[in-house]
Amino acid sequence: MLKTFKLGGVHPPENKLSADKKIENLPLPKTVFIPVAQHIGAPATPIVKRGDEVKTGQIIAKSSSFVSTNIHSSVSGKVKKVDVSADSSGYSKQGIFIDVAGDEWLEEIDRTEELVKEFNLDGSEIVKKIQDAGIVGLGGATFPTHVKLVPPKGMKAEVLLLNGVECEPYLTSDHRLMLEKADEILVGVQILMKAMNVEKAVIGIENNKPDAIQLLTEKAKNYNGVSVVALKVQYPQGGEKQLINAVTGKEVPSGALPIAVGAVVSNVGTAFAVYEAIQKNKPLFERVVTVTGKGVSKPSNFKVRVGTATSELVEAAGGLPENTGKVISGGPMMGRAIASLDVPVTKGTSGILLMQKEESERGEVLNCIRCGRCVSVCPMGLEPYLLMTLGEKHIFDRAEDERVMDCIECGSCSYTCPSHRPLLDYIRYGKGKVGQIIRSRKK
């Protein structure tokens, strides 16, 4: 019996079309737009101005508070302007436009492919370096990694969990990374273990990636305290709380952080970024992005510089198919449709999914038939049908009592609803309002 999390979950068709496609380097774009808010927390403050020459890897926006990160230039060239442009939601956000000229990297960055295993930094030096390199959780939530590595006072991490689950259908960027950069990821894991002073790390991988499980299990033998566990395919296993439950059997209490049960969760992509930052002095300015979809002629995995327009990725994967209904940044379950193809790739972009019209359309909204499917699939044990009504009727105090803030927005409820009710839309709305109420109460 393979392990998985206890409550709820769904199993959408996997559609991992690009699983056997090697990671390719995407050609350099002509211009990039690098937003200053690519992470959870305060936006970074731009420190370059129009006309400045920048090199690849140079800091162009500085972290403005503890929960914030540095932003580095992903290309070399000249700063065209510091201005606003529409982000994936269509709202204008500040960012830095750079005209690309050549590809001149900062000298201290080691560009060789050679594996460097040894490191002799102590915990706080590692955290400092990770902070400087602008590393955020690459699983999609983009929470600054250095914040995660410093547990709140009086708490101690016991185990580091690595998320190699990639439970979103279609996406294969983590899968490919595990196959192609297994050693690097494992060294990254060792660095993270040192930074947090834990003895044990477990990499969780879903059973639909047997090659990655086999490879990492084999390689992990050479690294102290690292083990690999195969998990049953179940969405949303990549959720922090679900992964902890699946691997350790522990349940994170409502409203608490994973550290409350002694766990810290990090993505395998993040571990690779940590390896590059510590061993190669390379800040986070590029990542692996899956470009896929049923109509895409060449589903691919690209290594992409942050700030590259989505249209370039789509072009490289064979162009926009004719009957594209939605272009989604991220996976089909939690990703968001983007308002235009000019939107840049950011640190949190794990995939670009070109959904066909038929599969992207929402069904007609019908009445709730009280079948209870949303309740049975909710991985957080909530009652989505009720939370939706509470959001709709603006009964936010009751929504708070019904633990609306525990919702991880995985979308399993909306996915499973036979009446196509926009459950998550209203829950997210209620969550926003309840969040406002909680914050105003604290003031």
Partner: protein, 286 residues
Amino acid sequence: MSIILYTIATLAIIGASAAVILYFVAQKFKVFEDPRIDEVEESLPSANCGGCGYAGCRAFAEACVKASDLGDLNCPVGGAETMESVASILGLEAVKKAPRVAFIRCNGTCDHRPKTNSFDGASTCAISASIYSGETGCEYGCLGYGDCVASCEFDAIDLREGMGVPLILDDKCVACGACVEACPKNLIELRKMYPKGRKVVVACRNEAKGGVARKSCEVACIGCGKCEKVCNFDAITIENNLAFIDSDKCKLCRKCVSVCPTHAIIEVGFPPRKVKEEDKESSTAK
């Protein structure tokens, strides 16, 4: 027989003693309530809309009775008439407030503002605005799902299905401000009401730079400042690439309407002008 007598006697004694106890308790815990509160409440429209800033008509009545002058208190629904009757009950002087009316500062109807994408989530403005900037290139404009229509207790907003922007019916609007709260894009403003429903107003909230604004909507304010220069009454201010006409200062001279290059400033309720065809178009479009 005697059982019945005993029962009646016992019940009578219990009843009498309970009455005595209740009388003294009632005296002890008596709460004095100004009888004028009830009187004032009765004279109010009982809409309980909260337009006065208080939680319902009762709370407003209490506030009126407590107040020493009515300068800061106004029932927008009842208007001057109601406030006069309140003043006469309380023996205070009624302060006349200019009536106000709500206005949606967006003229981005479907023919002015091309659709650039589509949203198929829950059809409320609040949810749409929290996820996306809208279905057009303008991130400031009306979303058209009608959260304002739903919030209006007085049936004063017409959704105008298919037009893209609802219309406020001046004769029904009581300026309670519910729609102002409901609009996630902050488009609705309570403006001074002029006779015959006349208005001169910048029907735009776009704060983007001129070129960007113009690209997203034909009738967007580009912040050129021509109206500010031509205004003789200092009623127009430009902030963040957007003009704003202060309705308390505006004298309805309409000079700004004719200089506005994008027809973002519209006039409503005026007889049609003779020469300028375009102006007429924009005013009838509203």
